[in-house]
């Protein structure tokens, strides 16, 4: 039995679907960020898998993943800084109640 490309892509797809679901339904801002990480991760897997199977002699996909991990780290750090700041101001992390700046 061979491990084909499709077999790697299926878990990645399900991970992405879970990310979408979590992003839409969760109310806690940190939970939303976690869902976002899921989606990013699944995309990273796709890049790597396509690189490995289709162009094994090159490493563009791997490099993309590398940079994506770096950017994700930066983005998460900043987002968490904002979340903590917001929490410090209004004592809440539920995005439905963060309407102070609206309108």
């Amino acid at each position: 039995m061979e491990i084909t490309m499709l077999m790697y892509l299926i878990p990645s797809l399900i991970m992405f679907g879970c990310g979408v679901y979590g992003f839409i339904t969760r109310k806690n801002m940190i939970a939303i960020l976690i869902s976002l990480e899921l989606m990013l991760n699944s995309v990273d897997i796709n890049f790597t898998v396509f690189n490995r199977y289709l162009f094994p002699g090159q490493m563009e996909g791997m490099m993309f993943t590398l940079f994506a991990i770096g950017i994700a780290a930066a983005e998460t750090a900043l987002a968490i800084a904002i979340v903590i700041n917001v929490f410090r101001a209004v004592k809440k992390v539920d995005i439905r109640e963060l309407t102070k700046m609206k309108f």
Binding site: V20, F23, T25, I95, R96, K102
Partner: protein, 641 residues
Amino acid sequence: MELSYTVAVLIIPIVMFLFLGIVGVKLSKKTAGLLGTCAMGVTTLIAYASALTYFFGTSQGQIVDGVRQQLEVLDITWLQFTENLVIKLGILLDPISAMMLIVITTVSLMVHIYSLGYMDGEKGFQRYYAFLSLFTFSMLGLVVATNIFQMYIFWELVGVSSYLLIGFYYTLPAAVSASKKAFIVTRFADLGFLLGILILSFYTKTFDFVTLTSNPSAAITSAGGATFMGCSVMAWALTLIFMGGAGKSAMFPLHIWLPDAMEGPTPVSALIHAATMVVAGVYLVARLFPVYCLEEGTMTVITVIGCVTALYAAAVACVQSDIKRVLAFSTISQIAFMITSLGVARPELHEGVGYMASMFHLFTHAMFKALLFLCAGAIIHAVHSNEMSKMGGLRKYMPICNIAFLIGCLAISGIWPFAGFFSKDEILVAAYANSPVWGIWLSAVAGMTAFYMFRLYYKIFWWNNPDYGHHTPHEAPMTMTFPLIFLSLVSIVAGFVPFGDLVTWNRGVLHTQIVWAVAGTSTVIAVAAIALATVLYYKENPVPTKMADACRGLWTAAYKRFYMDELYQFITHKIIFACISRPIAWFDRRIIDGTFDLLANVTNSASYAVRKLQGGTIQGYVLVYILGAAILAAVSIICLI
């Protein structure tokens, strides 16, 4: 070019207007008044120099074969739209414009001096002088216009300054409505004027007075026999232009604004509504006279309107009780004399004496009517009322005013040797030469003129001696009496000006002589009318009241100005407003506005409905984005299969 300094008579007043209008409030009242008056004095000197040089100068090219040339001393192309459609600004000097320069500046200067006393202590003194300067500028610009379009521009400017000055006491509702009335009525007439200008210039391809009048038959035939409603297009054009003149000159039935215009300060009435602006219509017809006299139908219209107005205004003037109203109606009547005189003038009749008579009467009338108005102002100043019933026996208190008013009355009645005798005599000669009907008609009106003027005179200065109480009337100050004396002198000697040598329809020389048959008759009629007035009003007696009671209906009708204002009121309110304006207003408000209101409301409610979509909920955005992308992908997959 020689005489090009004439442009100063336009520049000085407009500069004065701007100066007094902008920085006037910073000046003291006395400074502003004196400044305006001095500027007017300089303007007058320049205008006199210019006019006298034109009339009596002997330089090259002014008189060719005994005919004075029309001099365009300034000619600027203002707007050039196409080759034919050029709008110019310039200064045209010819006998009538030179004469008008003298008339306007003289009366204006007198009014400026007089106002120093009359308007003393009024609020807005500086504004008053600014407006006077604006009016002087506009009127001078009107008379020296080289083309009909320039004339129209200044024509509207005098309308505006008249509006501003009638409404000078803008806190009084009567003054405000009078100024609106004057503006709207003259605007309505000017609509005709504008249409006339457009038709005329469309066919003749020119605005220029010189081009139009130097070859009038070409102007008439340029329409090529085109007709409208059975009359030739040129007759329509000229009649419409005359309509503008009739509005400005308060001819029946467009006269209704002039009596109300007396709400303005009295010196303004003297300047604008007696001497200068209201003769603009006469001047307009005179300006285009060579063209007019080729259109027999239009000339008949002018004559008839002039005669009707003369009689109507004289009849109304006989019974009015407000002295300014009497003078206003007498002004209408006298202007109607001038209009009639132009209407009956023909080049072949007595060498076109009607034209000369009209201009002559314009000149003398300006002087003695300004005198009468200024006297009336002095009287009102002393008595603080316009009503005759509050006056009487004033000859003891105001001797100078008494003499001046008497001279004015004698002049307007046509008694030798006062100015009105000569000019009115020429008008009657012209009328009799055209048709005895008009002659007799005008003679009768001239008799009425003498009657109502002396009725006014006796009622003010003789009649009874009412109790003035602690407030005894007194003679006006020197600034007010000087113009009275000056204008009295002018009214006495103006008749001896050899007008026939100066102002004629073909700018040549007209040999006038007094036709004693006409002059004698008119003098006899005038003396008889004066005698009648003397008998009736010399001393307080019940006879006039009894006469009024005897024909109460006629008297009331005349007192109510034959219900002309009520007729206008009826037409505008009951017919135009109710039947035309209101449905249009309804249509505008409900249909036009309603459509746009509907659009606005729909947009508004749609915005409210979709507002939630842009609520800033990122989760909602992601949901829509994902679902949208999925739908698009599904659609493309289905389509590709």
